[in-house]
Symmetry: C2
Subunit: 428 residues, 2 copies
C-alpha cells in the first residue's frame, strides 16, 4: 500500500511518496475505551493541511477554572507553538488546546509566531477567553509556513462537533508517521473520592528524551493547584516520555500538557507530597508510562519492544543515562533486530555512558538469565534460553552496575531495515 | 562472497557467517607508499587468532631512546590492553608496540590483564627491554579469553621477519571489519631539517569520539621530549580521531600512540608552542585527519562521506559538539543515504546539541548553496544544485550558528541498509 505522506522534516512543499507501513507489529489490539472527563469537550476534523482526508486538527475545550502544567522540548530550535505554550504557561490557566498535524510550524521565523498568535486569537474569540489561555501544538513538516487560514476556517465546524467522548478521533488527528492512535485512562482516588485521568499521545520517530516529536495531552477532572500539578507532571514525564528513545533524535515540537478542570469533588490538596495525592501521582505516572510505551511500540520500523532496567547506579539520573546509552546504541539495537543477545555491545554501551560503573561487578541479565557476573561471562552461562528469549517481541535487559542504589527503566525498540527505508525516503 | 568472520563484540567462541562486504565504495585507490622511519622496524604474521590465514599480529620495534605519547578510550569498561598502556605511558618510553586483531581482550577480568602482562614480558625478553616499554593493543571479539600463547609462539618468527618497509601488511594485520588497510605519511621540517611521520590505523564500526574501535599507531624519527609529544598528540587527536563518528558507539579498546625515535638530526625543541615545531604540528594534524577520514570512508555500510563544518559557535569545543550532534543523527544520516537534502533534520540536530545557537541567525549551506538564512528558508533557494550535490559520494554540510567564532570540522558517513545488515548479524 502506497500513500501520499508528509514526513517530519523536509522540504517546503515537499510531498513524498512512501510505502504506507501497516500497523506496527507491536501495536495493541485496539484503542482503549476512554470515559468522559468532567469539564473536557473535544473533537477532530480534517482541515486540509494533510493531503489525506483523515482528521488533522484537534480541539479540546476546558471548563472555566482549568489549570494547566506543561513540559516542553529542550531543543534550542524549538518550534513557534512551543515558544507560545512556554509563555502561556506562566498564566497557569487553560481554556483550550488546539493541535494540528502535517506541519510543525518550526523554523518558520516571525511568520510562524504570527500564525500561532492568529490561531490562538481565533480560538479565544470562539470561546470568549483570553488568547493566553489557548495552548497550541503542531507536528509535521519543518520549515514550511503554517496555513493557519485552513485551521481558522475549520474552527466553527470543529467547535460545533465537540463532544465528551471523541478521544479516538482526537488521538488520530495528531498522528503523523504513527501507525496507530495512542490513548490511556486511569481512575485515581483522592481522599476516598474518584477522579479520572485520560491521555492521548503521538510519536513514532525522532523520539528521544527532552523530548521527541511527541505530543501528549493529559486531562483530569481533579482539582489540583497549578504549583502542585507542575511537579507532578515533571516527575511523571521523567519516568515516561523522557525514558524512551527510538533513534536518539530530539524534535523541535515536543509538548506534554496536563489540564486539570477541577470539576470532581474531593478534599483539597496543597502540595505534591500530600499523602492524599499518592494514588493520583502513581496513576498519573502509570498512565504516562503506558502512553510512552505505546510510542515506543510505534517506533519507526520497530519489531521488538526492549525494556532496559538499570540498577546499582550512583543515582536514578545516572541509571537513566546508562539505560539510555544502551537503548540508543545502534550496535545494541541492530543486534536485537537480528535476534542476537550480544552482551559485549551492552558492556560497550555501559562504558560509554560516562556514569560510574564497576566493570568487575557488572552483572547483565537477558530475559532473566544471568549472562555476566563479576566482570566476566557467567561460568554456567547457557545460551539456549537467552536465544529463545531474543526471538520474542519483548526483550528484557537488566544491568546492575554495582556502585549504588540508583534504578531506572528505559524503553526502546530495535533498529531495523524498515527504519532505514522509512527515513531514507527513497522516492518512487 | 561469504566468509567466516568475527565481529566486534559477541559471544565467546562465536563465529558468525556474514556477507563479506567488498571494498568500501569510498576507499582510496591504493595503500599509499610509506617511507622508512629511522629507528622503526615492523612486520606482521598470521598467528592463528583469526580463522582466516591473513595477518592478525603486528609488531613494531623502536630504537633505544624512543619516547611515546598516547590517547585512549574514555570508556569506563576499557579493555585490559588499554589499562596496560595507560600504566606504561607513565614511563614515557617505548621499545615495542604489539597488536593483534580478532580478539579485543575486553571484559575478560583478571585473566585478561594476565594475558597482556605475559605478552609484554615475552616481547621484552626478545628485545632485552623492560616490559613497561612494550605497548599492547587488541581489537576484535569482546569477552573471549585472549589466546596469548598463539601470540607468544609467533613472536620469534615475527621478530625474524621485521623490516623497515612492511607498512602495508602491518596495516592489514590490525584490520577487523575494515574493508581496506589505512596508512598515511607526511614529511615535516623542524628548523630546516626534514623528519618523517608515518601512521597506520584501523576502524570501521563502533566509531565515535573518545574514541572508537580505533587503533592508530603513528611513528616519527623526530626528537621530541615526551612532555611536548603528549600535547601534540592530544590536539591532533581532538581534531581527527575524536572528530569522526560512524554510529556514535564507543569501543572499549581505542588506542592512539605516537612514538618518536629521535633518530633524525634537527635543532632541539622544548615546548609545544615552539615556532620550530609549527610545521611538524600541522603535518601531524594533517596526517591524523587523513587517517581519521579513511576510517570514516570505511564506516560500516558507508556509501557517502559527509563533512560537517560548524562555524559561529561559542567555542571550538561547542562547534565540535554541534557537528557531532548532526553527524550522529540517524535522521540526518538516513536522509543523506536517500539523497535527500533534508535541512529540517539538520535544524533539529543543532537544536538537540545543547550548545548555544541562535535560531534566528542559523545559516545552513549544503554543497556550498545557502539553504537557510536568518532562521528561515532562503527566499531564492533553488533545490536543483543541492539535489545534484546529494547524489555524489562526498557531501558537504556547513552550519553557522551565529553566536561566536568557534569552528570545527566533523566527518561521518551515511546510515544505510548495509549497516543494518552488517550489524544485525543475520545468521545464515
Amino acid at each position: 500500500m502506497v500513500c501520499l505522506y508528509r514526513l517530519q522534516g523536509g522540504w517546503p512543499s515537499q510531498t513524498i511518496e512512501r510505502q504506507m507501513v501497516e500497523r506496527s507489529p507491536l501495536a495493541p489490539a485496539r484503542f482503549p475505551g476512554l470515559p468522559p472527563v468532567k469539564g473536557v469537550r473535544l473533537g477532530a476534523v480534517s482541515c486540509g493541511i494533510r493531503d489525506r482526508g483523515s482528521p488533522d486538527l484537534f480541539l479540546a475545550t476546558l471548563a472555566r477554572g482549568t489549570v494547566v502544567a506543561g513540559v516542553f522540548t529542550r531543543s534550542l530550535t524549538a518550534s513557534a507553538p512551543v515558544e507560545w505554550c512556554r509563555a502561556a504557561l506562566a498564566g497557569g490557566r487553560a481554556r483550550a488546546i488546539i493541535a494540528n498535524s502535517g506541519n510543525a510550524n518550526a523554523f518558520t521565523g516571525k511568520a510562524g509566531a504570527a500564525s500561532v498568535a492568529r490561531t490562538a486569537e481565533a480560538v479565544a474569540g470562539l470561546l470568549g477567553c483570553r488568547k493566553r489561555e489557548v495552548f497550541v501544538a503542531s507536528t509535521g513538516v519543518i520549515g514550511e509556513p503554517l496555513p493557519e487560514d485552513k485551521i481558522i476556517a475549520a474552527l466553527p465546524r470543529l467547535h460545533e462537533a465537540l463532544s465528551d467522548e471523541a478521544w479516538g478521533s482526537a488521538a488520530q488527528a495528531i498522528m503523523t508517521t504513527d501507525t496507530f492512535a495512542k490513548g490511556a485512562t486511569r481512575t485515581a482516588a483522592i481522599g476516598g473520592d474518584r477522579v479520572v485521568i485520560n491521555g492521548i499521545a503521538k510519536g513514532s520517530g525522532m523520539i528521544a528524551p527532552d523530548m521527541a516529536t511527541m505530543l501528549a495531552f493529559l486531562f483530569t477532572d481533579a482539582a489540583i493547584p497549578v504549583d502542585v500539578l507542575q511537579p507532578l507532571l515533571a516527575r511523571a514525564t521523567a519516568r515516561s516520555f523522557n525514558s524512551i528513545t527510538v533513534d536518539g533524535d530530539t524534535s523541535t515540537s515536543d509538548t506534554a500538557l496536563l489540564a486539570a478542570t477541577g470539576r470532581a469533588r474531593h478534599r483539597a490538596v496543597a502540595s505534591p507530597g500530600d499523602p492524599h495525592l499518592r494514588d493520583f501521582r502513581l496513576k498519573l505516572e502509570d498512565l504516562a508510562e503506558d502512553l510512552a510505551r505505546q510510542i515506543v511500540r510505534d517506533g519507526e520500523g520497530a519489531e521488538k519492544l526492549v525494556t532496559v532496567t538499570v540498577t546499582g547506579a550512583a543515582s536514578e539520573r545516572a541509571a537513566r543515562r546508562i539505560g539510555l546509552a544502551i537503548a540508543n546504541s545502534p550496535l545494541v539495537k541492530t543486534a536485537i533486530a537480528g535476534g542476537d543477545a550480544n552482551w559485549g555491545r551492552i558492556v560497550m554501551a555501559v562504558g560509554k555512558a560516562g556514569e560510574k560503573a564497576d566493570p568487575d561487578r557488572l552483572a547483565i541479565r537477558i530475559g532473566g538469565v544471568l549472562v555476566t557476573v563479576n566482570g566476566a561471562v557467567h561460568p554456567d552461562y547457557d545460551e539456549a534460553p537467552v536465544a529463545a528469549h531474543m526471538k520474542g517481541r519483548e526483550i528484557d535487559i537488566e544491568v546492575d552496575v554495582g556502585v549504588g542504589r540508583g534504578r531506572a527503566v528505559v524503553w526502546t525498540c530495535d533498529l531495523t531495515h524498515r527504519y532505514i527505508t522509512i527515513n531514507a525516503e527513497y522516492r518512487t
